[in-house]
Symmetry: C2
Subunit: 202 residues, 2 copies
């Protein structure tokens, strides 16, 4: 592990070049705005990434709203933890996975009532960061109208950040987003017979 | 948006089939163990996903350790936020990106001192979840010996979860992991000239 003088010099030169590239990219990125971020794909980490941004925002003294559309269980660590914190509003708007209710009219009505709650937060400039957890499912199943959702997102306060999570984000949503990350499973413990783990999966 | 009786019936039948599949998969996944999770790829969301799991674990009353190996800035929201919480130990072990220090010997020494701190947490069964944020970089640059790291990970307490973040996770690490998620950028605000946003990116 002990580098020669030549290795150390090459390392230094390589890092100097890298620094030039990075500094130039940072200098070019000079705009600030409320972002729309989509976290999608079949991999683990979509909701947990959104909740990590919640922690970041709260750490900066920002105000956060959370709306959870689909919620398979009522004992999640994120809800228990964040509900105790100041500067956060937490709404559970769903009734669990659609394969548990099996009632289309009821699922539609639940989602549409939920969207009214979200609309109020999308009009509230005191909310700096808004998490719409698993919003892609009500869109995918047609419980919410995508055009209405897009219009409400576009009319939000200009500095408000919105993070939407869930599999299979609709193309129309990705097109208007600033950042779209796809989480891909290269390997998942669940496939190896390991059950959802407390603190990791919920 | 108003479904016919036939549509509602088809929906119900589809969701019943889905429920059978989901319930069977849940029944098969009956093991519990300390997981090794890798969050890698070039996309946004690796560290924030790890910090979301921190929130989940704290919400369940679990104890958490965090080690940050590379840290480009000292004003992160996650550190400000979580350092105020009970049941968490937070270590900053890096000195910023390697293209800022440009000194290989110093970077090696810093990483190796950091690993000693991690080794103590990897031997501590009271830590339920351990985050090794951006550990992939010291491995990639050869500051840490991958075999030593793998051995220490394998000898940890059996119920301790470890989450490792960073681009370009080494294959040897992915092979021993339980879950590997790759975050892929389909689109990133930074590429459109938008600077790193407070509460979102740091």
């Amino acid at each position: 592990m002990c580098p020669s003088a030549e290795q150390a010099q090459r390392y230094r030169a390589r890092m100097q070049r890298q620094k030039t590239v990075v500094d130039a990219a940072i200098a070019r990125a000079d705009q600030t705005k409320g972002l729309l971020l989509i976290l999608t794909g079949n991999g683990k980490g979509k909701s947990s990434s959104a909740f990590g941004m919640v922690a970041r925002a709260l750490g900066h003294g920002m105000h956060v709203g959370v709306a959870q559309f689909i919620k398979g269980r009522s004992d999640t660590g994120e809800e228990a933890f964040f509900k105790q914190q100041p500067n956060i509003i937490w709404h559970v708007l769903g009734e669990g996975f659609t394969w548990d209710t099996q009632d289309l009219l009821r699922d539609q009505a639940t989602a549409q009532q939920g969207w009214v709650v979200v609309q109020n937060m999308l009009r509230d400039p005191t909310i700096d960061l808004l998490i719409l957890d698993e919003l892609t499912y009500p869109l995918k199943f047609g419980w919410l109208n995508i055009n209405e959702v897009l219009t409400d997102l576009q009319n939000r306060p200009p500095m408000q950040h919105v993070v939407i999570t869930g599999r299979a984000a609709p193309d129309a949503l990705c097109q208007v987003a600033d950042t779209v990350t796809e989480m891909r499973n290269n390997k998942h413990a669940f496939q190896a017979g390991i059950q959802a783990q407390i603190g990791i999966d919920y």
